[in-house]
């Protein structure tokens, strides 16, 4: 190995280290977005569930009280 090659390899290693650090950061930020996305969908499902439960309760109420009123 000559001096030029050794220096070049060292420079490549330095670059790769920098890129690795940047990539770690991007990974973290992507992960955070993924978590937020799942949370949005989970909340959406929960709110739908609540609406469904409320509707069911409403239906039951209507059936019970409606019958009684008759």
């Amino acid at each position: 190995m000559t001096m030029d090659t050794i220096k070049a390899e060292h420079e490549i290693k330095e670059l790769l280290k920098q890129l690795e650090t940047d990539l770690d950061d991007y990974y973290r930020r992507l992960d955070a977005l993924g978590v937020e996305r799942r949370e949005v969908l989970r909340l959406f499902a929960r709110r739908l569930e609540k609406i469904e439960v409320a509707k069911m309760q409403q239906r039951v109420k209507e059936q019970v009280y409606g019958e009684a009123e008759k």
Partner: protein, 732 residues
């Protein structure tokens, strides 16, 4: 044979990453980049929302607002993600581009690593962008065995040429031209090879002025041959064209792959002369009477790491009458052109492959038959235009190459894996794993053996300096052994490897770890080692207390030896003390006061924050009886430095970080004989850049040669230095 000591002493436990790991590293980083930058596979917001809605039985009016609110939020997240992808890509590419502009040779090596890594096959775009951005050519060969005639420096020169050519490529123009040619060929238009190939070389960065001259020379050559060819090609005529194109020297120059180079200088490799012959014969066929032209078909025959232009003579019924192989001695094959392990392809197909975005694939077994194994050749070729054909399967060895190799007396050898391929790793040794530590010791000696110069005359080869310089830094790291919990028998086993008599230089250092984990018997033993240096850590225990008992035991052994009349600076291993960062100043001063007249290293490199040596410590340094004192990890104040300059009672060796700080403050120190640099680490790249940019330009001009020399010394110490891959023979 004891390893002679270097003038510049060593620091333990620096590992050098083997070259082979570099390509893996490159692959790894680009694979990760590729993965990060791939658009995520989320469903569209609408689809996700619809899917969830599907599992509920709710009327639209009840969910409409909530669904659109959710979709808007998801869309916003998608937009953020897209922006993040773009930001990441832009930032990474900018970083690589800035780096590439600064480190041109390294760029070519990086590209070569990337090109040869498996990621290229499954790249989803990022690497391609990196490649385009680096603006460098794709094809150069780096097979895996050893052969002359291309020396390492010749290979490096070729790499430089590749880079220079790569920097001239206008990618956009090149793509437009290739697309035009592709479309013409697909429409069945007759595209002349003569009109396209040199243009392709120019678009791939070959100097346009040189291409112009090559075009003229090519025309002159064609005119010369056309003037004597008559109405048809006779066998003599074909042979005379080939022989004249090769000239009196029939050999190939492995690095030269451009047809421009061939026409201008005559230098060629098999690829460039094959293309040149195809151009010349194409032009000559065009000048034949119309009815004769279809009789000839040009093409290429592939062999292992070699190709040959061919001229097929076609019978009226379309069968092949015979094939001329257009390289001296111009063998002729009757009938079909393909041979076992040597498929052929016609010129039109080649033209198409050359301008295609994806490589064309073909099988090596165009004709069945046995194909013998053969060694590879290491060659790097500056080849502007790739044939762009992948051949799957085994190819036959080239008779021609074998002949040249025989004529030149070149030895082709298959490279067996050897100790030089791998610097021993410093993996953790468990306290019950004595075998591993023994293996580590043996590996170190194997590594040393592999780096010894080969000698024709054994006696004269024992020149200690030469041997020392030919072996890169070797450290044995036994610091991870749990010495406290080893059975005495196990300690014996480890030391049996260290005390074994060998006809080899010893490793530069042996690191035993925390001295307070060593038994009194072990400390006695390490003082008897033949190694030039032993490394020990001195640090507080887990409760924050520092015991000096063991280090003083070792120092006492040295003191006793000194009293017995030994010159402990020569006869005993240098003691390298890695000082824990919590060790208080008073303990350091006490330690310095206790040192006898030997060689000692006080190494505070592990400290998180670099500090200044206090005045009382500087006084202790100056007053210490050590003959050679090596210091690193703390900088000297102007006052401390002045004290050291004025006290030439010992030689002070400063680690590279400390030394460059000293000469930045006082460039005149380079002429102070009792203050010397200690090459204790690799010192290159960004570290030197940072130092340069933070140094006054006037001071930098003064110390630049010293800094560059230190860089060279560090490389020489931790790598194989200037001897490269060559075998050193000395038989004075």
């Amino acid at each position: 044979m004891e390893k002679p000591r270097n003038n510049q002493p060593e620091l333990a436990v620096e590992t050098v990453v083997p070259q082979s790991e570099l390509n893996d590293g490159i692959s790894g980083v680009f694979e990760r980049a590729d993965a990060v930058l791939k658009l995520s596979l989320h469903e569209a917001p609408k689809k996700s929302v619809k899917k969830i809605l599907g599992s509920f039985d709710l009327p639209n009016e009840d969910t409409e607002n909530l669904a659109s609110e959710t979709m808007a939020k998801l869309q916003q997240l998608d937009n953020e993600e897209l922006a993040l992808h773009k930001e990441a890509e832009r930032s990474l590419l900018t970083k690589i581009r800035d780096w590439a502009n600064k480190n041109k040779f390294a760029t070519t090596l990086l590209l070569a690593g990337a090109v040869h890594s498996p990621i290229i096959a499954r790249s989803s775009g990022f690497l391609e962008k990196v490649q385009n951005m680096l603006n460098t050519v794709r094809a150069w060969e780096m097979p895996n065995t050893i052969v002359d005639p291309q020396s390492f420096s010749e290979k490096e020169q070729v790499v430089k040429e590749i880079y220079e050519r790569g920097s001239r490529i206008d990618k956009q123009k090149k793509e437009v031209f290739e697309k035009e040619q592709r479309e013409k060929l697909e429409r069945g238009e007759d595209v002349s090879f003569n009109d396209t190939f040199l243009k392709l070389e120019e678009l791939n960065g070959v100097d346009s002025e040189k291409v112009k001259i090559a075009e003229q020379k090519k025309q002159e050559m064609i005119e010369k041959f056309a003037a004597r060819m008559g109405n048809d090609f006779s066998e003599d005529f074909i042979k005379s064209v080939v022989n004249e194109m090769f000239g009196s020297n029939k050999n190939y120059e492995w690095g030269q792959g451009s047809v421009t180079e061939y026409f201008n200088t005559g230098k060629r490799n098999c690829v460039s002369i094959a293309r040149a012959e195809q151009m010349v014969f194409e032009a000559l066929i065009d000048r034949l009477p119309a009815e004769k032209r279809s009789k000839y078909q040009l093409g290429t025959a592939f062999e292992k790491q070699h190709e040959i232009a061919i001229l097929k003579v076609i019978n009226q019924d379309g069968s092949i009458d015979r094939t001329y192989f257009l390289q001296p001695p111009i063998p002729i094959l009757e009938g079909a052109a393909d041979r076992p392990g040597s498929p052929t392809v016609d010129l039109k197909t080649m033209q198409h492959a050359m301008v295609s975005s994806k490589p064309m694939s073909m099988s090596s077994n165009a004709k069945p038959g046995e194909i013998a194994d053969s060694p590879d050749i290491i060659a790097i070729t500056n080849q502007p235009v790739s044939t762009n054909i992948n051949i799957e399967g085994k190819l036959k060895a080239s008779d021609y190459i074998e002949q040249i190799v025989e004529d030149r007396g070149i030895e082709i050898k298959s490279k067996e894996p050897s100790a030089t391929d791998k610097v021993m790793d410093l993996e953790i040794i468990h306290n019950d794993d004595v075998e591993k530590s023994q293996q580590k010791i043996e590996d170190a000696y194997k590594y040393i053996e592999a780096h010894l110069p080969s000698c024709l005359d054994q006696e004269n080869c024992k020149d200690p300096d030469m041997i020392d310089r030919s072996v890169p830094f070797v450290g044995i790291d036994l610091s991870t052994i749990d010495w406290k919990n080893l059975e005495p028998k196990q300690v014996d086993e480890i030391f049996s490897g260290l005390f074994k008599l060998r006809a080899l230089p010893d490793p530069d250092t042996i690191n035993f770890g925390d001295i307070n984990h060593l038994s009194s018997e072990t400390i006695e033993r390490i003082a008897k080692l033949r190694a030039p240096e032993i490394t020990l850590e001195l640090k507080n225990d887990k409760d924050g207390n520092l015991s000096m008992e063991n280090i003083y035991q070792l120092i006492d052994i040295y003191r006793k030896k000194e009293k017995e009349g030994y010159d402990i600076s020569i006869d005993m291993p240098r003691v390298h003390i890695l000082l824990g960062e919590d060790v208080y100043n008073a303990a350091l001063i006490e330690l310095l006061d206790s040192l006898p007249g030997g060689q000692f290293i006080i190494d505070q490199k592990n400290a998180k924050t670099r500090s200044y040596v206090s005045t009382d410590t500087a006084e202790a340094i100056v007053h210490s009886k050590a003959k050679d004192l090596y210091l690193e990890g703390a900088d000297l104040t102007a006052e401390g430095l002045e004290m050291i300059i004025k006290n030439p009672n010992k030689t002070y060796h400063f680690g590279l970080s400390a030394y460059i700080e000293i000469i930045r403050k006082r460039p005149d120190v380079v002429n102070v004989p009792h203050i010397k640099p200690w090459v204790d680490k690799l010192f290159m790249g960004a570290e030197i850049d940072n130092f340069r940019t933070t140094t006054d330009p006037n001071v930098w001009r003064k110390i630049q040669p010293i800094v560059e020399k230190l860089e060279e010394d560090a490389i020489q110490k931790y790598y194989q230095g200037f001897y490269g891959d060559d075998v050193i023979l000395y038989n004075k």
